[in-house]
Symmetry: C2
Subunit: 398 residues, 2 copies
Amino acid sequence: MATQQELSETRQHSGVGLVQTRLATLFMPPDWLKLAGGGELGPIQVAYETYGTLSPEKDNAIFICHALTGDAHAAGYYEDDDEKAKPGWWDELIGPGRTLDTDKYFVICANVLGGCMGTTGPGSINPETNQPYRLNFPFITVGDIVEVHAALTRQLGIDQLLAVIGGSLGGMQVLEWAARFPDQLRSAICLASAAQLSAQGIAFNAVGRRAIKTDPEFKDGEYERGAGPRYGLALARMIAHITYLSDQSIEMKFGRRLQDHDTFTYEMLPEVEFQVESYLHYQGKRFVERFDANSYLYLTRAMDYFDLVSQHGSLTKALGQTNARFLIASYDSDWLFTTTQSKEIVRALIECGKHVSFIELKSPFGHDSFLIEIEQLQKLITPFLAQAYESRLAEKQS
Amino acid sequence: MATQQELSETRQHSGVGLVQTRLATLFMPPDWLKLAGGGELGPIQVAYETYGTLSPEKDNAIFICHALTGDAHAAGYYEDDDEKAKPGWWDELIGPGRTLDTDKYFVICANVLGGCMGTTGPGSINPETNQPYRLNFPFITVGDIVEVHAALTRQLGIDQLLAVIGGSLGGMQVLEWAARFPDQLRSAICLASAAQLSAQGIAFNAVGRRAIKTDPEFKDGEYERGAGPRYGLALARMIAHITYLSDQSIEMKFGRRLQDHDTFTYEMLPEVEFQVESYLHYQGKRFVERFDANSYLYLTRAMDYFDLVSQHGSLTKALGQTNARFLIASYDSDWLFTTTQSKEIVRALIECGKHVSFIELKSPFGHDSFLIEIEQLQKLITPFLAQAYESRLAEKQS
């Protein structure tokens, strides 16, 4: 147990402090969500958090799109957090005086459709059968995810967002927002992302799904809550986790160091040997405790299928309708979502005469950099958002 | 069934034609192999093939070191090959008039210790128990592998090899040969390799081993021959296979193309969707048919532990004793064994005044390039070997 002292220190560092996840019900029958893949889905529940206050003009809202395995808990802490609980996943970026300044902005983060953190997904109860959907959950796309989040913002009374921001799969959602709802955002911040996943990324996801599906505990998705393909899901996470790191960051953190030895262990098959092994096992184990295997299948597929180019004919057609200002950033050590992929987005935006800022950030942490290199993001995003905010005021005055 | 026509065409293209794998027994008790990890092992059987004729002076022998999952069958075909059988894995490089010219050279390739293609490994019978070793097989190193192959060449009457050549784990063996038996080779050709595996490479191997060990059919290695952790081993292979390819090569071969559809499939969870998935599944399945899971565990560990630097104090100490000429080549698209790693070897060789040629070859095929880009290797290796061969003649005349 942490002392009360330690607990309060953690809480002191959180900008927004105590938060709660709320639930909204959207898409009630007969106005169900029309899925991109055909068919309808409803009622749909969305888990979301908000930080700051919506202005009377409802023009200061920023929507955060989380990545593959993220959730609505972007900042703050919960009343019943134990001493091990970390604050929200982007806590350092959100709060009074921080980059997503809750004294100025109203910040929203919502769990994605198909997820397992409160928003309707394969673990939710299918009202037609009174059983969890499991693999009867319909095929969903990034478009469907954004459709649900757009409905949430409308339900909150917001017609236009000041900004939509996200990294990785979150960045794909940002691009989808701009393509699908061109008038509903003033600015878009897309970090470590792409208009389509690379073939290599699809390959890694496919092997991860295979690991889940070949685990005997998977049982075609019909496992009980709390049970399921633990080994398979942990493996999928371990594979993915390597792709989120750079070789350099693994090298820096673990090198070739052995777990509990200074030299070779000549035991036959010790459970783990290298420190990186131990770290990956830990990551896999922790992930299984918080994530649902069926959700992982649905969300990685949504990611693999996302393709703004084939969907719209070209990237300029996809992004040509919006007047949002764009900020695109990639990381030099990110080999899953490369700078080349970010530049394709930038090229399309320039071609159709949009406002776009682009930077390749330097970081050794690979794809995960957007979750780690907070100071860099502060410097980058704070003035970009301030400009969007001021342009809104200027517009109002004119 | 292939027609007789097709079959004979395949055979016509093989330079060395019909070959046989032979078995040699080395390290009989009491002169057992002293393992790097302590302890002894014997008797040790080695499966090997030879192509060409050993000169009366026994000075024209080239030893090929195979990669992780390779075998002794580097060239030619077997009498009982069916129509699906490919010729040996480096067939295009070996034969009369080819780069490893069997009119001039005596070429040897042997399966590695710990393997499952004829050389003593975890699937072999432990004479003490009359049962397969399985996980009672001792920990082995790249040093042990080379020790066994050096004993084989001595048994063939060869004191000094004209060249040792290999890629990937084979290249690690080449470096180990130079460090361990500095006087027993005149030249060394090390392709797409490194003096130590990267931390990222260790991480991928660790996850592959984990996939095997968490398959319920693994049974702590006590599975029956023909049974075993099929899914786990296939997963390990699929993970590894992605690391052998470059993103570009996956893109070129498969792109984001779907398996049997031109557009999205909205079925719930089709077995495979993207062509790259189907390809990886096929690779995994084929691998399980020919490879033993326990061997995979032992050999990937040998690869992970290989570290000439920590073993000798420095790379210059490791490679400073030999007078062999080196040819080092890397591939620009290889992200598993990078050019940077090859250059570390080159730098050490230059530092201790050795003869070394280095080239970074251009190829889109990633790590697998050394098995694919044969024409490049022909141009590179043919003159290098000719020079080694002529220097031997010149020495003899002087």
